[in-house]
């Protein structure tokens, strides 16, 4: 692996602690794809997923892993941010209930408690899902369970949780010996969106460097999909604490969800989701797509 020339340094803020959702990034790193392109990527995990986009907007980091719904809100709030790549191209969010619990369909939620972790738009998702079954938010009780989404559900504190990831919480419950039932948001009236995206500050970003970054990432995804077992070994190398049953299962379940063409942008899909966000009152108006998404040539 050539390390001779001066590299371009990039600070990348993850959305949350290192987990299999970040697999392509780590495979690219471990395989030396970044280095081959004269990139030196420093990956930092925050404790609060809301911080990375802010810090990128403030010029304190070059790239952040963030969420598409948040992007719309952030740009509407005036943050200089633009999506330039996609990591996970489908929603991961679900509404999760216990399989042998009383909730069989979303309509059964009437009068029940739904836990959420304050992220900013869970209530909007829920409102859209409930609307298809003739319910409103007034028909349920929303409880902020902050740090304990699945414990709250397993311990019977709430009847459902919104914001659970299909690749994690379902496996988590299975490991604990509970079977879960997931209502996938994109099947329940919410337009499909990219769960994990890469954002940068359009005012400062170096398009050429980011393009190289995306190329390396694409190599990472390719390798990951082609060699999942070897990739797993790469992922846990030096990160022994990640080597557990849950991550192994999540790894498997996340594989099909990675964007194989990280640089590609589906403009119509983004505009459709922006419209949804506006209808839910989360953003005042749908901006033109150039204002929040970029395709790097």
């Amino acid at each position: 692996v050539p390390h001779a020339r001066a590299n371009d340094k990039l600070i990348l803020l993850l959305d949350w602690f290192i987990n299999p959702d970040h697999a392509p990034l780590f495979v690219a790193e471990e395989m030396g794809y970044f280095a081959q392109r004269q990139l030196e990527v420093e990956m930092i995990a925050p404790a609060d997923p809301n911080d990375p986009p802010k810090l990128v907007a403030a010029g304190k980091a070059d790239i952040a892993v963030s969420y598409q719904p948040q992007l719309h809100v952030q740009v509407a709030a005036g943050l200089p941010l633009t999506r330039f790549g996609t990591l996970v191209a489908t929603p991961l969010n679900t509404l999760l209930v216990l399989k042998d619990g009383p909730v069989k369909t979303i309509a059964d939620l009437k009068g029940r408690k739904v836990g959420f972790s304050v992220g900013g738009f869970e209530d909007a998702l829920l409102r859209a899902m409930l609307a298809r079954h003739g319910l409103t938010l007034a028909d349920i009780t929303l409880v902020n369970v902050n740090f304990s989404l699945s414990p709250a559900l397993l311990a019977g504190q709430v009847d459902a949780v919104i914001g659970a990831y299909r690749n994690f919480e379902l496996n988590q419950m299975a490991i604990e010996g509970y079977e879960g039932r997931a209502f996938y948001v994109e099947e329940e009236g919410v337009p499909s969106y990219d769960e994990l995206i890469l954002v940068a500050n359009p005012e400062h970003m170096d398009r050429e460097v980011l393009r190289r970054f995306l190329d390396a990432l694409e190599d990472g995804v390719r390798y990951l999909v082609n060699h999942p077992e070897v990739s797993w070994e790469l992922f846990i190398r030096g990160r022994e604490e990640l080597n557990d049953e849950l991550n192994r299962r999540a790894w498997r379940d996340t594989l099909p969800r990675f964007a194989l063409r990280p640089a590609a942008l589906d403009r119509a899909r983004y505009m459709r989701f922006a419209q949804f966000m506006q209808q839910q009152g989360l953003i005042p108006d749908t901006l033109s797509i150039e204002e929040y998404a970029t395709v790097l040539e």
């Binding site: 809301n50 802010k54 403030a58 809100v73 369970v145 740090f147």
Partner: protein, 253 residues
């Protein structure tokens, strides 16, 4: 003058804040300017005040229970040697438990009502009270306890008439610290899972990138903190008139 003080203090805080904004040029979504926050406050003042009421209730209950628990712990610690060996380490260890570890447990036992929030606030509030009072109880002038012993004091009356009054200034010190941390105690309590309160509002605003609203809530909380602190500080001074207490040392020199 005395009544304007809080206003002046608020003005001072705002000024400081504006200066920081100017000096550092922090972007508005990380540190909004006071004017933006004022607008956000005014637009949302009903919501903010509603949430503030909840938080105020939690602060009050937290302070009340925390003080009672703290005073009680200190007495037990001071009076039973085994307690000091076994309870004190537990109390100290309890201070090292972060919210997210405790939150699910508290919710499991106490549910999502106000109880779990108050419990969390109490965990933060009681320690300064207990530690301060315990320190005070350890430091009683031996002359007084000797005198009381020759007067035939029982452990109970010794406590009531000698040790506790003598330790009150130290308890007051602890209470001052507790009062200052009570608001954050309530906010941390709200992280345990809640649907109301300034902490919830801040978390929510943070999630929606409404930095101005978050800071409006934070400012409200800070004003609370300062007001409660000065009310309690004043009450404590009045309650301990025998205690030498120069609010400032400047004049003397």
């Amino acid at each position: 003058m005395c009544y304007f003080r809080p206003l002046i203090i608020a003005a001072g805080l705002i000024l400081l804040w504006q200066i920081i904004v100017w000096l550092t040029g922090a972007p508005h979504f990380i540190l909004p300017a006071p004017a933006d926050v004022a607008i956000a406050w005014w637009t949302n003042h009903m919501a903010i005040l509603g949430h503030a009421g909840v938080t105020l209730l939690e602060i009050t209950l937290g302070l009340l229970c925390g003080t009672i628990l703290g005073v009680f712990s200190a007495l037990v610690l001071a009076y039973f040697r085994p307690a000091q060996r076994w309870l004190l380490p537990v109390l100290v260890a309890s201070q090292a438990v972060p919210v997210f570890a405790l939150a699910p447990i508290l919710v499991l036992w106490l549910g999502y009502g106000i109880a779990s929030k108050v419990a969390m606030a109490v965990l933060i509030i009681y320690f300064p009270v207990a530690a301060g009072f315990f320190d005070g109880l350890r430091r009683t002038d031996p002359g007084w306890t000797d005198l009381a012993r020759t007067m035939g004091a029982s452990p109970w009356t010794m406590l009531l008439h000698i040790r506790i009054p003598a330790a009150l200034p130290a308890l007051a010190s602890g209470l001052r610290v507790a009062t200052a941390v009570a608001p954050i105690g309530a906010v941390v309590g709200e992280w345990v899972g809640s649907s109301a309160g300034l902490g919830y509002l801040m978390l929510h605003a943070n999630g929606r990138l409404q930095a101005d609203l978050m800071f409006a809530a934070l400012f409200t909380l800070a004003i609370f903190a300062v007001l409660i602190y000065f009310v309690i500080d004043n009450a404590l001074r009045r309650a301990l008139p025998w205690q030498p207490d120069r609010s400032t040392l400047q004049k003397e020199e």
